[in-house]
Symmetry: C2
Subunit: 437 residues, 2 copies
């Protein structure tokens, strides 16, 4: 039988899990320090909650679930695994807005599922750490979100990262600058968003396929291929009044963000960044590290998404997401050592099981991580071998002789040193000898 | 639009999340102290991994997923959401057994999904904390697992709980004692397992429906309805040699477990306990608290499950699961208070945003949980109201006058006391005044 996990998903074994737990703890501490509160939502949502939110590319990747129970096998797929944590937040805010503060700063950590083509750093079950501020205005909310994300990277040891920032409004102004008709904006945006992956020629090819007029494609290609592509885009955006307003807002975010970022982090204007999700309305950003070609974080402002749930009340919001799997890839390169699962193994001499359990109880009470040997067979050699395989620090056993004297045998595995001590002194001896965890 | 979560699933808002996080932390600490290592597995498995493991009742409740991607909408349901954490563990152990120690003690914490009928303490998305020992022999492995679970309940404040223990082997011996043919054992077991819910009459009714001979049903009904039902069952099991062996093994587990349990916990022989899952082979148990009619934990020995993945290598294993949702129901009754999300709110005076961000940066560096006001409008009254709604301890703001003097205004919300202090002294002032978190 094939025992691999499903394609694009992963099993995490103890060594990796300990590193992940360390990352989650560090990130959690930052979120708390920035005043974000935890929420959690179900793994699946009713399908109608998710549809129409992620654009033409995203919607294809939603995993659908057969609702079971009374209707049995024949039921339709009316549930779907969550695709991100932003749409669930919007539903939650709409549902509980009278119980929640405003502005509402929340974080949520957990998996999301996308039927994407698997690859390095690209999974079908991926873990996100999201933080968002609902009821929050530009530019401060953007700066708070990006600053908290930056602090997370910093605390887990990532120093050099770059915020690629843009604004949906700037992007729209650029498209207007190309005098493209409004009905082509979405289509062109999707093509432009791929410029970092496929280059100017690749974008041009897709634009042609999408039926964009040849003269427009030529202009766009020339802009993208030029060495001052970013300045050219800026000039196109600045042709209109609302383009200039959008640029000023984005510049203000960058100006406020710079001094709260670590000095090793940078901000780059990325005029063709679109983000694949339909719901963004203002500032958008992606975060890159030099050692990985995929974004390690992303986010933006989505002022209309909540209104779609909360019945036409306009609720501004902005947030960001930290891609924990990609951060792990980068952090793993520094390859920390992980501690053994137990500090002490208590061996079992013949039928003296009760005695072994009593010793373990005593040690655990003193917060010493302890396991009782539960394997088959019971000779001392086999038990010591198991202790050594597990890299425990000490092996303890009480045989009949030791029992008669209320004492135990202790063997320290690193040094091979073996001694007998009174049972009453065991905790003190081990606490003094073992490294603190 | 309906903004409720899907039936049988839940949204967790911040106050409840903080309690849950506290529970998870406490349980995690116990698992570590008992020498269990963390693993994680995907939310879904290939369907064939899950089928044939959970018995006739369980299998109906598996949520199936449409595999997406290249084959599009028409793809068959070939994935399914995990139904428990034991089958995934078995798959993982078979897949990675050369990398894992033996005995292997692992814990896993996370949701599982069952298309059950929702009710109080009964969810379609439920959270389990599982701990198991693979490659472990009776009776010590059972005692270690049950003892660790008991310690978890103890640490989260649950004192009075009862282990209902039985053994699949004892149950089989009882059925033999009734001289039931082997092909009726599974069917009778399913009916007997419900005795606590439906009583002797209910079981008898189901037995008749299941086609059991009338004289057998009468005998079983009389046994179940008698005041010494447990002793009668014991006598039936003791009619055969292997029945007596099975009883002796179960008694030994109880004898070893008793001294390591808290004094307020009890152990009860439950001869008709079957556990609904097909894979158990030896000792089985459920844990009950007097304030809830549903089990708050359960587990048992499953010596053949791993063999079904690991190609006929016999690998003994036993484990238990703590029902975090039901534990939460019980713990919530003690209704702890939860801290506010931030200790300090930094207000924004007009356009002095950069100044507000710099103050927040300073406080966060000293581990003071801080948020910058990001709401709309900006007058002092509105900002103070938001600070008060969030129950922060202090509100800090720098206006032009304070800025000219390198100072800030600080207002303590509990007392209403307001003062001005030098910016350089702010962290010290707050650290000395705010309660430690």
């Amino acid at each position: 039988m094939i025992t691999d996990p499903p394609s694009g998903t992963r099993d995490f074994l103890p060594a990796e899990m300990r590193m992940r737990q360390g990352l989650f703890r560090a990130i959690h501490a930052v979120f708390v320090r920035y005043g974000f509160e935890p929420i959690d939502t179900p793994a699946f949502e009713r399908l109608e909650i998710l549809m129409g939110k992620y654009g033409e590319e995203g919607e294809k990747l939603i995993f659908k679930i057969l609702r079971r129970g009374e209707r049995g096998e024949q039921a339709e797929a009316d549930y779907a695994l969550r695709y991100d944590l932003t749409v669930p937040l919007s539903r939650v805010y709409a549902r509980y807005q009278n119980e929640l503060p405003r502005p509402f700063r929340r974080y949520q950590v957990g998996p999301v599922w996308r039927a994407d083509r698997p690859g390095r750093g690209r999974f079908r079950e991926l873990f996100q750490c999201d933080l968002d501020i609902v009821g929050a205005e530009a530019p401060l909310a953007e700066v708070e979100v990006m600053s908290a994300l930056a602090q997370c990277y910093w605390e887990v040891g990532l120093r050099k990262f770059t915020f690629h920032v843009n604004s949906r409004k700037v992007l729209m102004a650029i498209l207007e600058g190309y005098q493209l008709p409004a009905e082509q904006h979405t289509s062109v945006t999707i093509a432009l968003d791929k410029v970092d992956k496929v280059g100017a020629e690749g974008v041009a090819k897709e634009l042609v396929e999408r039926g964009i007029a040849a003269d427009k494609v030529a202009t766009i290609r020339a802009d993208l291929a030029s060495t001052d592509a970013s300045d050219r885009a800026r000039s196109r955006a600045a042709l209109t009044e609302h383009g200039r307003t959008a640029l000023a807002e984005l510049d203000e975010i960058s100006r406020l963000l710079a001094p709260v970022l670590p000095e090793s982090a940078t901000i780059r204007f990325a005029p063709f960044l679109a983000r694949g999700l339909d719901y963004y309305t203002g500032c958008i950003f992606e975060i890159y590290h030099p050692d990985l070609p995929l974004a390690i974080g992303a986010g933006g402002r989505y002022d209309n998404l909540l209104a779609s749930f909360a019945e036409d009340k306009s609720i501004p919001a902005c947030g960001g997401s930290l891609g924990i799997d990609r951060v792990m890839l980068l952090v793993q390169q520094s390859n920390q050592t992980t501690p053994a699962r137990s500090q002490v193994m208590v061996g079992v001499f013949g039928q003296l099981r009760e005695e072994a359990l009593a010793i373990a109880k005593r040690l655990r009470r003193s917060e010493i991580s302890t396991e009782v040997y539960c394997g088959a067979g019971g000779n001392l050699g086999k038990q010591l071998k198991a202790a050594s395989q597990l890299k425990v620090q000490a092996f303890v056993m009480q045989g009949p002789d030791e029992k008669a004297q209320d004492s135990v045998m202790v063997k320290f595995l690193a040094t091979g040193k073996q001694e007998t001590c009174k049972l009453a002194d065991l905790t003190r001896l081990l606490a003094a000898t073992l490294p603190q965890t």
